[in-house]
């Protein structure tokens, strides 16, 4: 059986490539554009590390960077779908603000006081989150319906939404800041207690590595079943090693960042743990908001690449008429995309309010621009049809790295905006060049 396959299976394109680099890229079938972005990110990180005197590439800064990226990262996965279908959503920051307010009022007033659950009830955090997601989905459904069925351009509808939902956020509490949040809800924002610790982080790493290896194995088995060209075995092993190595590395970094001395001391006192010489070392591990963002990223990648919905999103972006003629209900798909975007805004709102431990009127201001910029830097084309969730997540990380790095270097905030703006335009120009050469 195996011999027969060896005889009839067509050769993998990598066997025709000339230089070792070409052969490597072709054999592993990695997206060269994504690889370029990872390279750019590495340059940014190393550059900041040198110019900030070694402050950037520390467990502490990288851990903070991951937490700071989480909120925008969650939203950008939805923005990819919006932009791929040739739409735009300018209202995500305002939706985040409104939903944050609603969740804040839910957990500080309505649920504990008016419904009498009492402060600190274990159901409060999940009820607040679910109600917030329902509000987000509802807003998305409304905007999506106006865009898809009433044919008002998404730019206008969401520009209106930008004003409406920001105004509505103010209206919830007449501008008053809502604080503090429910103690369980706060865990979604990170911090020493909002992290899963060293042991569970390693558990997550093991599960992720197993998933990578199993995924590669099943992919290979599927190709063999249909007699398609397969990657060389060494390429599969390289991919598995890189994937698992990156996972283990990230977890090791998160685990290398200890709790602040004072908090560790209090924790030790409260639990009767003897503090060793030089203080107690308690690892943060992966922060919960980061775990949420990674989970959303995996789920959205699955949705875009493995489901009919995802296939329709890309087909609609590439050629709306062809999608329509193929019998796809393009309007309903559009509504679903905006509903999904609303739900993701609600998750991002939970992360932001939990992290700040307050719901304020200004929460999410300018987020729509950061989210769109992250998607575009991540290779999503405003012309539609092109963009990946993984690229957009990297784009969010690049944006946040730039900002955080400039803060570390003590650059003034006006100059920070200037740099981010220039990088955005530069990145899109590079992308245009790349695509022109490719096709």
């Amino acid at each position: 059986m195996a011999e027969q396959h060896a005889m009839t299976t067509p050769a993998h394109p990598s066997s025709f490539a000339q230089s070792p680099l070409q052969r490597f890229l072709s054999a592993t079938e990695v997206d060269t554009r994504l690889l370029g972005m990872i390279g750019a990110l590495a340059i940014i990180w190393v550059g900041f590390n040198i110019f900030s005197g070694g402050l950037f590439l520390t467990p502490r800064n990288l851990w903070n960077l991951s937490v700071q990226t989480a909120s925008v990262a969650v939203m950008v996965t939805g923005m990819v779908l919006v932009i791929v279908t040739r739409n735009i959503d300018l209202s995500v920051g305002s939706i985040l603000g409104l939903v944050g307010m609603v969740m804040g009022v839910m957990q500080t007033q309505i649920l504990p006081v008016q419904l009498g659950l009492g402060l600190g009830h274990p159901m409060i955090w999940i009820l607040s989150l679910l109600i917030g997601i329902a509000v987000g989905v509802g807003i998305g459904a409304l905007q999506g319906t106006i865009i898809a069925y009433l044919k008002v351009p998404a730019f206008i509808v969401t520009l209106g939404g930008y004003l409406v939902w920001r105004g509505a956020a103010w209206w919830v509490t007449a501008g008053r800041t809502v604080a503090p949040m429910d103690s369980t809800f706060q865990l979604m924002g990170g911090g020493p207690f909002g992290s899963i610790g060293a042991l569970w982080s390693w558990v997550v790493a093991v599960i992720a590595c197993a998933a990578i290896i199993i995924g590669l194995y099943f992919g290979r088995r599927q190709r063999r079943r249909f007699n398609f060209p397969q990657r060389p075995v060494w390429a599969e092993i390289t991919l598995a090693l890189i994937g698992c190595g990156a996972t283990i590395g990230a977890v090791a970094v998160a685990n290398a960042y200890p709790w602040p001395v004072r908090i560790a001391q209090n924790f030790a006192n409260a639990n009767g743990i003897a503090v060793p010489e030089g203080g107690l070392f308690v690892s943060h591990g992966i922060a919960i908001p980061v775990l949420i963002a990674v989970g959303v990223g995996v789920a959205m990648t699955f949705l875009t690449t493995r489901t009919r919905f995802g296939r329709y999103v890309y087909a609609m972006g590439g050629n709306p008429e062809a999608a329509e003629l193929a019998g796809i209900n393009t309007r309903w798909v559009t509504v679903k995309i905006f509903m999904l975007m609303g739900a993701l805004c609600a998750i991002a709102a939970a992360i932001s309010t939990a992290r700040l431990n307050a719901a304020t009127n200004a929460l999410g201001t300018l987020d729509e621009l950061y989210v769109i910029a992250a998607a575009v830097i991540g290779g999503t084309s405003l012309a539609g049809g092109v963009g990946t969730v993984a690229g957009a997540l990297l784009g969010a990380l690049v944006m946040q790295s730039l900002q955080s790095g400039m803060v570390l270097m003590g650059i003034d905030s006006p100059l920070q905006s200037i740099v981010v703006g220039i990088v955005l335009v530069f990145a899109v120009w590079l992308d245009t060049l790349y695509r022109r050469n490719k096709y």
Binding site: F228, G310, R311, Y314, M316, A322, A323, I328
Partner: protein
């Protein structure tokens, strides 16, 4: 009248009007198994409108459509597809940012038991169909925009025949193609014909269809001027039918023919 067996498609006395203008006026046309019929006429002659009634895009005001001798009800594109009628549009055919397999199965994807896309199964089927149509086709993993015009057209045609089309409508199939690609599409049409599929080729340019068609039907001002086997008439005679409505001796005159 040219073939005695039951026609695959028979459209009889079809009329449709848009705001008082009779776009198609008592037009009759037929198609047999394994036959290629070229539907010719100037822009605005009513040929596209007539064929859109068959593909379900328009609803006729009067007349009858019979498929395999039985009266057919076609009210929308889905009805037409249920009768095995597939239409290939020159420009609207493909989503060019996804690969060939994704285009072939767009709207009719194969899914696994879990409801996720079964890309391998789709690619396998795509390789099988494309291998039959265009054995040189190798670029299954690339977005369709990276393909040549002829290859894209073969993707569009493959999509139509993948779901057992018996009647194929091709609107200006070679208008945007170079000479070599036009030849490729010609080869394809001959293969489909050999498989027993009936094909309508719509064009305003006689050179596109004359060599491929078994029969031509010429329309002018919404009416059928006449029809003829391509072996019985010359290109110039057909041109005369298109331009002046003059029916040569080798052709059968229709309602729109000029009477002496």
């Amino acid at each position: 009248m040219l073939d005695t067996s039951t026609p695959l498609v028979e459209m009889t006395d079809i009329s449709i009007a848009f705001g008082g203008i009779r776009a198609v006026d008592r037009a009759s046309i037929s198609l047999h198994r394994g036959e290629v019929v070229g539907l010719l006429g100037h822009n605005g002659a009513g040929k596209s409108t007539l064929i859109k009634i068959l593909s379900g895009a328009y609803r006729r005001d009067a007349g009858e459509i019979r498929i395999n001798g039985e009266t057919a009800t076609i009210n929308n594109p889905r009805d037409a597809k249920a009768y095995g009628i597939e239409t290939i549009y020159q420009q609207l055919a493909v989503a060019d940012n996804v690969d060939a397999a994704a285009n072939l199965f767009l709207g009719r994807e194969i899914t696994t038991a879990l409801g996720t896309l079964d890309d391998a199964a789709m690619e396998s089927k795509a390789r099988e169909v494309m291998g039959r149509l265009n054995p040189n086709f190798r670029r299954f993993k690339e977005p369709v925009k990276a393909l040549s015009g002829g290859q894209r057209q073969s993707v569009a045609i493959a999509r139509a025949i993948l779901f057992n089309a018996r009647i194929l409508i091709m609107d200006e199939p070679t208008a945007a193609l170079g000479p070599q690609e036009t030849a490729q599409v010609g080869e394809l049409i001959k293969q489909l014909k050999a498989d027993g599929i009936g094909i309508f080729l719509i064009s305003h340019d006689i050179h596109d269809v004359f060599d491929l068609a078994d029969r031509v039907v010429v329309m002018k001002n919404g009416q059928v001027v006449g029809q003829a086997k391509t072996s019985d008439v010359t290109k110039d005679e057909v041109l005369g039918m298109i331009i002046m409505g003059k029916v040569p001796p080798g052709a059968t005159p229709g309602p729109g023919a000029i009477r002496d």
